[in-house]
């Protein structure tokens, strides 16, 4: 008898196990949905974990108001398909209420403001666990994350003092007001995600596939031309075949020159690329430890 399973199925099983632990250990978990491939993967895994029952988590989208239109369309279709409940945390609201101040200038982005909107949405919904699609291979601070990541009453992460996490025994105990971030796909790489999306034939937002778009170049990164980014006088707009490797909001998501129009093309491209997927994220480039700094405060 051959009892071997390949690594993709092993990762799938691990993620399903963790989602079921979350449903069992917490009273009111929520799944943070950004519209990117990782959160899409999370929704499909959650569906499998509880089939034929409904996904027992609401989806929380922290909306910067600067989305690619494709993202919102895809999100609404997905929510309808799974009969899930969608909760929206709005950065615009936080700005309007004076909780945060909009950044100004050429590199202005609402990315950092998302943290406040997220923490407020978590508090308002009384969520005690927030499932995220962050992966350890994405970034060096994320490489240090536990599956069950404890957050204090201010939503902060203390990377120097994380709880030990042994075997598959996840300690989700907490005091009033604290919560957990849980990352079921921690061990997946970008390539694993794409191989799985291909294997399972999961539809994806068109942004991931090469298309013609008006773009301009800033600090070596291509950005989509849109009303939310103020261009410098010398920044010229041109048309280019591009695709997104990650999807954040329009102000911080770089696009990549690419001719990959199918999932198979993308797998081929990723297997040979020399750049990380977040290499195009201007939010990560702000300083050496910008992800860690944001995560400590409660970013995704």
């Amino acid at each position: 008898m051959n009892y071997q399973i390949d690594h993709i199925r092993e990762l799938e099983s691990e993620s399903i196990f963790i989602m079921r632990e979350v449903a069992a250990q917490f009273e009111n978990p929520v799944l943070m949905f950004s519209g990117g491939k990782d959160s899409i993967l999370m929704v499909y895994l959650a569906y499998k974990a509880f089939y034929p029952a409904k996904i027992p988590f609401s989806l929380l989208h922290v909306d910067t108001g600067h989305n690619f239109p494709e993202t919102l369309k895809y999100r609404d279709e997905l929510v309808a398909k799974f009969g899930a409940k969608l909760v929206i945390g709005s950065v615009q609201d936080a700005i309007d209420k004076g909780m945060v101040t909009e950044e100004k200038g050429f590199n202005a982005s609402r990315n950092g403001l998302q943290t406040t909107a997220l923490l407020e949405a978590l508090e308002k919904g009384k969520y005690d666990a927030a499932l995220g699609g962050a992966r350890r291979d994405e970034e060096k601070a994320r490489a240090k994350e536990r599956f069950f990541s404890h957050r204090d009453e201010f939503g902060q992460w203390d990377p120097k003092n994380q709880r030990p996490e042994l075997w598959n025994l996840f300690n989700g105990r907490k005091h009033m007001g604290e919560h957990f971030r849980v990352f079921p796909i921690s061990n997946w790489t970008e390539l694993d995600v794409w191989q799985y999306l291909a294997l399972e034939d999961i539809p994806l937002p068109s942004l991931y596939f090469a298309h013609e778009r008006e773009v301009f170049k800033r600090d070596g990164t291509l950005l989509a031309d849109c009303e939310y980014i103020q261009k410098r006088p010398d920044e010229e707009v041109f048309t280019q075949m591009v695709r997104c490797r990650t999807i954040g909001d329009m102000t911080c998501t770089g696009v990549w020159e690419s001719n990959a129009t199918t999932v198979e093309d993308i797998i081929q491209e990723i297997a040979t690329t020399r750049m990380t997927e977040r290499g195009g994220r201007t939010d990560d480039k702000r300083s050496e430890t910008s992800m860690e700094d944001r995560k400590k405060l409660g970013y995704f």
Partner: protein
């Protein structure tokens, strides 16, 4: 795409070169992205370092970079045509032993680093003991910084002897040795030109070829129940599925099974897996079992075979590794405990002995178990647990002990 997954961890004392080795392995196997490399190149230059400090690939936290040590486990991933690897690079500093245990608890292979100048030190022994307690099937002792001892075979042989003498008293099955220089890359991915006296394999060759006779137990059938799936919809009106991850053995449709603790028997009618119905399920698959009879089963229960059952009991002997830096283990103290999907409370009935790290002797006089101590204890739980010895099953043989005041995980425990 059908590739095997190998999880390995680093171990060894502070500054012995663990992170540098992982960086070197990634670099020489061309698993580093250009932008990552440029980033650590910039940081190294800014810090005034001579070359590119490859340890920065895993030492990603601000405080780690400030102090030049690893504080918490970093996970890195790479693959070769032969295997896919998950690396846990763990800290050597004694203060962060709990993070080393975190990284090591799921590993198939441990790379134990030793600085060739210093040889086997107390922290090397502590980590080797932990690796053996955790039953990591393979230890590869990497004698590092050979460049600083003139690539001397005599030095290497001496350290190998010392380690072997110590390891003879440990429960480890497979130990190999390799002389390396993580800094220069000798015997990491490429063979060293400076040590022609060494005829064994490179680290990469070892990792790609070490035989990982599966880590799972395929004999003793166990399914700890995580949650019961009840759709409450018209379409699936009577559906009642017991969801969990197979912890041992295998289940087939038609198998006679028993639920613990109730002892009721039934028969498996369906196995619903991630890709739909399946005939057979085995570790580490996550599945949902449907049974012929409507018996009462809930989270924390376990489905097993009639003729092969775990120990059911409340008095349990454990080897533990203690993590709490504020409070030692309290004899007669009460703690929360997690085992598979069960949450119970327990009382510490007895500390049987504390292990002396250097001599491996059992100290029955000083039995105070403080941070980083290893010892044997007996506990009594509020409800029966369904356990196997850790030696035979890592899933049903492991527990964590939790301080009920702080909610911190304060110990890892292995059922004897």
């Amino acid at each position: 795409m059908n590739t095997e997954l190998l999880r390995f961890t680093t171990a060894g004392s502070v500054d012995d070169g663990k992170s540098t080795l992982i960086g070197r392995l990634l670099y020489d196997s061309k698993s580093i992205y250009q932008d990552q490399y440029e980033q650590i190149e910039r940081v190294s230059a800014k810090r005034g370092e001579e070359g590119v400090n490859l340890a920065l690939l895993t030492d990603g936290l601000k405080s780690e970079r400030e102090q030049g040590i690893t504080i918490d486990v970093a996970y890195r991933y790479f693959s070769t045509p032969k295997r896919k690897f998950i690396i846990a690079d763990t800290p050597g500093h004694i203060q962060y032993t709990r993070n080393m245990v975190t990284g090591a608890s799921t590993a198939n292979v441990a790379l134990v680093l030793i600085d060739a100048r210093h040889g086997v030190v107390e922290q090397t022994k502590r980590h080797a003991i932990i690796a053996s307690l955790l039953q990591i099937p393979h230890l590869l002792v990497c004698i590092n910084k050979m460049d600083l001892v003139d690539y001397s075979q005599a030095k290497y042989d001496k350290i190998q002897d010392d380690f072997e003498q110590f390891a003879a008293k440990l429960d480890v099955k497979d130990v190999s040795f390799i002389p390396i220089s993580a800094l220069n890359g000798d015997n990491v991915v490429n063979r060293s030109e400076k040590m022609d006296w060494y005829e064994g394999s490179t680290l990469m060759y070892y990792l790609e070829n070490v035989h990982i006779a599966s880590d799972h137990n395929f004999i003793d059938t166990r399914l700890p129940i995580q949650t019961v799936i009840r759709p409450y919809s018209d379409e699936f009106h009577d559906y009642r599925g017991y969801a969990g991850r197979i912890a041992g053995g295998s289940f087939k449709v038609g198998d006679k099974v028993v639920a613990l603790p109730s002892g009721f028997s039934s028969e498996v009618t369906r196995i619903v897996g991630a890709s739909g119905d399946q005939e057979l399920a085995y570790p580490p698959q996550s599945v949902t079992l449907l049974l012929k009879d409507d018996i009462d089963i809930s989270r924390g229960d376990m489905i097993v075979r009639e003729n092969n059952q775990p120990e059911v009991g409340q008095d349990i002997d454990l080897m533990i590794c203690w993590f709490d830096d504020k409070k030692p283990l309290m004899p007669r103290g009460k703690y929360a405990l997690k085992h598979t999907t069960q949450d119970v409370r327990c009382i510490i009935k007895e500390v049987r002995y504390k292990l002396d790290i250097n001599t491996l002797s059992r100290d029955q006089e000083d039995k105070e178990i403080k941070m980083n101590d290893i010892g044997r204890i007996q506990i009594r739980t509020t409800k029966p647990l369904f356990t196997d010895a850790y030696r035979t099953n890592r899933v049903t043989g492991s527990v964590i002990i939790i301080d009920e005041g702080t909610n911190n995980t304060v110990a890892a425990g292995m059922v004897i």
